[in-house]
Symmetry: C2
Subunit: 333 residues, 2 copies
DNA sequence: AATAGCAATGTAAGCGCTTACACAGCATCA
DNA sequence: TGATGCTGTGTAAGCGCTTACATTGCTATT
């Protein structure tokens, strides 16, 4: 086990001081050509790689931004996160990702871990969060931006989950649906899930239905869970329209509808939310709400980098969503 | 902007030395109860969070493992990576993820970045890699483990891509298919894609076909690309069986088959590879090769942690795959 | 020719933590 | 009672970098 070469090793080999080597690496224009060549040769020869921890400690900058997402397993965050990462990468920032498995305690732990690791800014999903965590971030003065949700009062880049879902529900109600069922992700600790259900309720109310009559089944993420929720809904309420809180649940419901030998959308309509690739792959393609994942990721990256550079505060941005027409929504029989 | 509290601040407030505070945090049993309580109270009161960089620098341990995957956007790596991360988390390790967008230069850059950030071990995908990178890892003595592929000679935990695909192709050939087309991910720099195509060729040869007659269309990841490749294949070769290098491409081909008004598997059979959730969601469900993603992730995590702890060298492990029966493979008409 | 001004480099003081070693206080044992 | 061993803490030396400031040797300017 050879000892990893340090700045000092490089300096010794190039016959210069450590300061010069450091400058060669961080501000090459401050070092005259022949010296630089000598240093670079030494760097190459030794296979030197700067120690990030030491650099971070000395310079107090890490060029790192962290993100805590509920899960990696689910395509819902993948596209936006990829765009977020690409934008950060272009600007020389690095992304640290952690996942919380939808568990607030784990999220808090991940946030602490990322901050301790030098994350200068944080991307978080949704607003539901222990105030202690918010306070921690404040005392550490780490800018945190929430994505996939919108709230004018708190820094966030996302969309209006409630309004978007209400628009979709209104469209369905216009077609004449009156028996509606909802399959939602667990609402505890998930403001987006709550807002979406609220959106359905609001639209129903506006259409003259009693929002409290609408059955809501909660199902954890996953195709299978969506299918089981569909079973329960059909057994009890037999709605003509099943509104799902996300595309994954909708895909599960759609699959299960086939098992019930129900034709979609003739016998039952099913809608999703998120507009991930999956929604266009299932047969029939899902009618869903298209979310601007990439735009959100890019905007979040730029906002966070600006905040880290001290260029002003984090603001809120509400992006537009639109109904993505598929083939799973039609008038009731 | 309050200055983040340091160990020294905590020590001052608790009326002890910094060493004692450090011990409280890292080896509580070495500190007597009343002292510890005082220290912990100070930690709490100040909202102290240890500085990871300083700790890493002083202790020369980071409890961090890095992973470089081709893309986050694609479900193919998500499940295995999630399992990898969960296993690491249980053992108190943290995961740093970077993505390379299937670009060797970016992968090399990401590897350097992760090592500089203190990754004690690395999870990499596939064996194709610039020798300079391998050498870099060796000089830094960072154990690197390859996943999603297998090679007895180099540390890897995965499966035999060639044999797995050959088994699937053999099954199809047994059904009587003779006009075969392949849609593969780009093979340059991707040993897994190459091995899978080789598998098809080997099976074809064994069945008395000329492997060189089998058309292979390369398509980048993505549903759309899979569809376009399907177009080209049908226009030129009109095979009775389309073997796809992964489920995403297969899903794209399946979708496009519908546009061609071809019934699958009556008019054309289509197979995938990977066995991700998507394969069971599309209609009809894909016949594919099921890969033990979670087992692979867990095994990789354990192997890397053992190597980091100095408990022996990294070994290779070849996991079993199996054909996952769907409804897209049937005898030719 | 003396002076200022600048560019290239060196010197050395930390950044916040861990940990080997030193030390003090106390119980234990001959 | 004095030597012996613990145990709980403190002291201080780094870990590998960055960077303010000092130094040196030039070229311009007067």
């Amino acid at each position: 086990m050879t000892n990893t070469p340090t700045l000092e090793d490089v300096a010794a080999r190039a016959g210069v001081s450590t300061a010069t080597v450091s400058r060669c690496l961080n501000a090459p224009e401050k070092v005259i050509e022949p010296t630089r060549a000598r240093v670079m040769a030494a760097v190459e020869a030794l296979g030197y790689a700067p120690n990030f921890s030491a650099r971070a400690l000395a310079a107090k900058r890490t060029q790192t931004i962290g993100a805590v997402i509920p899960t990696m397993e689910n395509a819902i965050f993948a596209e936006g996160l990829q765009a977020f990462q690409e934008r950060l990468g272009e600007a020389g920032y690095m992304l640290l990702v952690a996942s919380s498995s939808y568990d607030p305690a784990r999220e808090a732990e991940a946030i602490r871990a990322l901050v301790a690791r030098g994350a200068e800014g944080l991307l978080l999903i949704g607003h539901d969060r222990d105030p202690a965590v918010i306070e921690f971030l404040a005392t550490q003065s780490v800018p945190a931006l929430v994505a996939w949700a919108h709230d004018a009062a708190r820094p966030s880049i996302g969309f209006d989950n409630r309004a978007a879902m209400a628009a979709l529900a209104a469209r369905a109600l216009d077609l004449g649906h009156r028996r509606i069922g909802v399959i939602s992700a667990p609402r505890a600790g998930n403001d987006r899930a709550r807002a979406r259900v609220e959106g359905v309720r609001a639209a129903a109310g506006a259409a003259g239905l009693n929002p409290d009559d609408i059955p809501v089944i909660e199902a954890p993420y996953g195709i299978e869970a969506g299918g089981e929720a569909f079973d329960r809904l059909m057994e009890t309420a037999a709605p003509s329209l099943v509104i799902c809180g996300n595309d994954v649940l909708a895909a599960g419901a759609l699959k299960r509808a086939r098992d019930w030998r129900l034709s979609v959308p003739r016998d039952v309509s099913i809608t999703g939310f998120d507009g991930i690739e999956l929604s266009r792959l299932v047969t029939p393609a899902l009618t869903t709400v298209h979310v601007p994942h990439r735009a959100m990721g890019v905007a979040a990256a730029e906002a966070l980098m600006a905040a880290c550079a001290g260029e002003g505060e984090l603001a809120s941005l509400c992006l537009k969503t639109e109904i993505s027409d598929g083939e799973t929504l039609a008038p009731p029989r």
